[in-house]
């Protein structure tokens, strides 16, 4: 009898009622090994969005340009130029909208990433966290043309550049960390809770209005602030507003943002890994 082929040392044990969370280091290693898969999946998803259009990838630049034009029309043309402070808020508003798109993608696309990949999940084995993380990465790639457009539009609309700009990368990294946590947490919730998708529609809307993007934090009465400052996007976008307004973000906002970001990442990872095995059953 000939020899059997060489087998690797890989051993999988699948047990019932195992609530044990996989070893985090091994899990991160497995996700990292599939990084090329994440990159390709995001690229393929973005490409497939454009293939049915005549302008193709040109849309990735046109989209932020049109969005900027709409805000200009709403805040400058329709309001007859408005006050000086209203005009000064326009570049901050546009930047805020582009950045908010990243967090909304983590909530929306990231949240539904497991449910949307049913076929893939039932036919392949890989660390499931790749799917929500890919949504965050995809949103980042999609953000690049918007950021380029914003860099051009910002000074044209009279945006002020201050020393706080040096802190922009730090705040952006904190937002990305927060987005990964949010997408892991929400994707678990939406997959396992039957009415999760319905509830998220309202959560998204509440967060949109509770986040200082369409209004300056400085104009918020303290009685209203109590209702909106409790959520993670508030200190984050308050810090963004200060930076884009030419100022320096306050230490309180930065610390609060960092605490939220790492707390959400920690909770997101714990919850996702604990429930990952139940996804196939629920889909």
């Amino acid at each position: 009898m000939s020899e059997t082929g060489e087998y690797s040392d890989v051993e999988y044990v699948f047990e019932a009622n195992s609530t044990a969370v996989p070893d985090l280091r091994d899990y991160i290693e497995a996700v990292w090994e599939r990084r090329q898969f994440m990159i390709e999946l995001a690229r393929a998803d973005l490409r497939s969005l454009r293939t049915s259009t005549a302008l193709g990838n040109i849309w990735s630049v046109l989209d932020p340009l049109f969005q900027s034009a709409i805000y200009f029309f709403l805040y400058v043309v329709l309001r007859g130029g408005g006050s000086k402070s209203q005009a000064a808020f326009l570049p901050i508003l546009i930047g805020g909208f582009f950045l908010l798109g990243l967090s909304m993608a983590a909530l929306g696309e990231g949240g539904s990433s497991i449910k949307r990949a049913k076929g893939l999940l039932l036919n392949s084995t890989f660390p499931r966290a790749i799917l929500p993380i890919t949504s965050v990465y995809k949103a980042l790639r999609n953000f690049v043309p918007s950021a380029c457009v914003f860099v051009v539009v910002f000074p044209v609309l009279g945006g002020k550049v201050g020393t706080g700009l040096f802190l922009l990368p730090l705040v952006f990294v904190l937002q990305t960390v927060m987005n990964v946590g949010i997408s892991l947490l929400i994707s678990t919730y939406v997959t396992l809770v039957p009415d999760g998708t319905n509830v998220m529609t309202y959560v998204n809307r509440v967060l949109f209005f509770a986040t200082p993007v369409v209004y300056p934090v400085s104009l918020l009465p303290s009685s209203a602030k109590i209702f909106v400052a409790w959520q993670p996007l508030f200190p984050l976008f308050a810090a963004y507003q200060q930076i884009l307004g030419g100022g320096v973000p306050s230490a309180a906002y930065l610390i609060e943002t960092a605490l939220w970001a790492f707390a959400l990442l920690f909770i997101g990872i714990r919850v996702f890994l604990r429930h990952e095995r139940e996804f196939a059953m629920a889909l």
Binding site: Y7, E15, A44, N123, S124, T125
Partner: protein, 270 residues
């Protein structure tokens, strides 16, 4: 008469060491959503019975035990809904067992890693994504793409979006990806890897090649002739339970006898 694919008549290199797959008293269920009838009945149920529109657990496997030695071929047979595809999903770790334990030793590929990606992507892109998800390097995949396309008889379709593919072309691509990624353990569910007779023979040849290399194969099939031809052991599942497990000829004969009796019974009822 069944044609013999080259490779099946060779001596199979079965390892006497630890099995590739061990299943101990495995049970598994699916959660099925019960659709609500209308608004009034939903309110009634919530208010009077204090019960939400609940999920129901449907048992798909019950107390299933078997092992598959390294280098052997296990055929899984049974009627539709017997739990065959569920067994594949439990072995691959996609679906957690509700009870029991499954141990798998080796790198495995579940049936069709190409299935599940975007229709707007080309066949080549789907191969890349399926391979990357399975942990194959991009360089190796670049080498394999043309070979897989040729094997799946896709010709110029390989670089066209998959939405332009026929059902047969999709299945051919999916099963080609599965056999070409050189898994140590291959789980093939024929329900998902169909194709015409010529292609089935083509796949059988490739499977024989894997068997020749000492790979472990779990084949879910309705083709009883291929069970006798390829398998070293057979598992007959009936309503989620093991009806028979052992020598393929014996298991197939018992299964055929059962099917004949059942069809006679149906005739009587008719």
């Amino acid at each position: 008469m069944t044609s013999t694919a080259p490779g099946f008549d060779q001596e199979r290199p079965i390892d006497p060491g630890p099995a590739s797959i061990e299943a101990h008293n495995v049970s598994a269920s699916y959660r099925v959503r019960i659709d609500s009838a209308d608004l009034i009945s939903d309110i009634r149920r919530l208010v009077f019975r204090h019960q939400a529109a609940s999920d129901r657990l449907i048992p798909a496997l019950r107390d299933v035990s078997f092992d598959v030695p390294k280098g052997s071929v296990l055929a899984v047979i049974g009627r539709n809904g017997a739990g065959k595809s569920t067994l594949c999903r439990v072995i691959s770790g996609v679906l957690p067992p509700e009870q029991g334990r499954v141990i798998v030793r080796g790198r495995m590929n579940l049936l069709a890693p190409g299935i599940g990606f975007s229709d707007t992507l080309t066949g080549r892109e789907n191969i890349t994504l399926g391979g990357l998800a399975s942990g194959i390097s991009p360089e190796r995949l670049e080498e394999l793409s043309d070979e897989i396309g040729e094997f799946a008889q896709l010709d110029e379709y390989l670089d066209l979006p998959m939405r332009s593919y026929s059902g047969g072309m999709r299945m051919r691509l999916a099963s080609s990806v599965a056999v070409f990624l050189d898994p140590e353990i291959l789980l093939i569910d024929e329900a998902l890897t169909g194709g015409d007779a010529a292609f089935s023979e083509h796949i059988a040849e490739k499977t024989a090649e894997l068997i020749g290399k000492g790979r472990t194969i779990v084949l879910v099939t309705h083709g009883l002739s291929s069970v006798k031809l390829m398998a070293t052991s057979a598992l007959w599942l009936h309503q989620g339970r093991v009806a028979e497990f052992g020598d393929p000829d014996e298991v197939v004969n018992k299964y055929m006898r059962y099917c004949r009796i059942e069809s006679l019974g149906m005739d009587d009822i008719g």
